[in-house]
Assembly symmetry: C2
Homo-oligomer: 156 residues x 2
Amino acid sequence: MTEKCPNGVMSRELSVGEVAERSGVAVSTLHFYEEKGLIRSERNRGNQRRYPRSILRRVAVIKVAQRTGIPLAEIAEALAVLPHDRPLTVKDWSALSRTWRRTLDERIERLTRLRDQLDGCIGCGCLSMQECPLRNPMDTLGAEGPGPRLLEPDAV
Amino acid sequence: MTEKCPNGVMSRELSVGEVAERSGVAVSTLHFYEEKGLIRSERNRGNQRRYPRSILRRVAVIKVAQRTGIPLAEIAEALAVLPHDRPLTVKDWSALSRTWRRTLDERIERLTRLRDQLDGCIGCGCLSMQECPLRNPMDTLGAEGPGPRLLEPDAV
DNA sequence: TGTTGACCTCAAGTTTGGTTGAGGTTTTAT
DNA sequence: ATAAAACCTCAACCAAACTTGAGGTCAACA
């Protein structure tokens, strides 16, 4: 069942079930990814999917990207420029992960800014559209100046 | 059109369109929130929605919670214990925002951990299910030990 | 008194990321 | 040889958070 090369690395192509098991995603998900163009498969004479072992890295990359919050469509775009017929290299991975790291950084920054605003507003609660930094998410520009605001019961 | 009280605060009830404009959410969204139990409305004799001005703070709170990533269902739950018939007080807001701040903190932490793992793996790319911290998101436990991993072309 | 704009309800559509199931074929194991 | 396990396609369904549209009513203004 498991054919080994001289060097001891298993080199047989993988069935969809094997890929599912080894990559930790469901078979249905692999079908789905294929439909979305994220992965590709060859077929054997019985029309069953057969994958090169490099699929495992590709799927792994997809999963990591998803954890950073990148939507599948964007992941697909990023992977689209890379060939399906050879494994992703370390270089490919570096480029991708560096990009994703940057967007992850931005997400973290945005959330951190939000947290700070929340801190500044916990004791206030005015939530004024005009004056409260929480309601004015001018996310990038530092048009801040939180500080306590006076709270008029309904003057939102 | 705008009736003022002696003290200069407008105290008229608001129509759904007015709430939409002043709170920055669409009319359809207000209908939707009502259906989900997040907000409530009185009706005038013509069956049109009429809101007390306190609705504006309530909607504001919902929006802020959403920005922190809290799903509507959870926001609904949190707001459920608070009466619809009086404005949210600073105390209400403090309690809510403190809770949400904590979950926001967790989100930030999780993302930061991910970023660090990504940093450790950018030059590696093994993405091994067994060995790569990026693939083993045992998020809470510090079962770390990233460091460089040797990269065998297909040994994912 | 129109007529226009705001409002009403209810149903259906949208997007993202999949899962579930029916009905049928292929592979694998005995 | 046969039965079970794995695979195939295609369609439908799920949840979240809304939006859109149809068909009809109400209100505000000239």
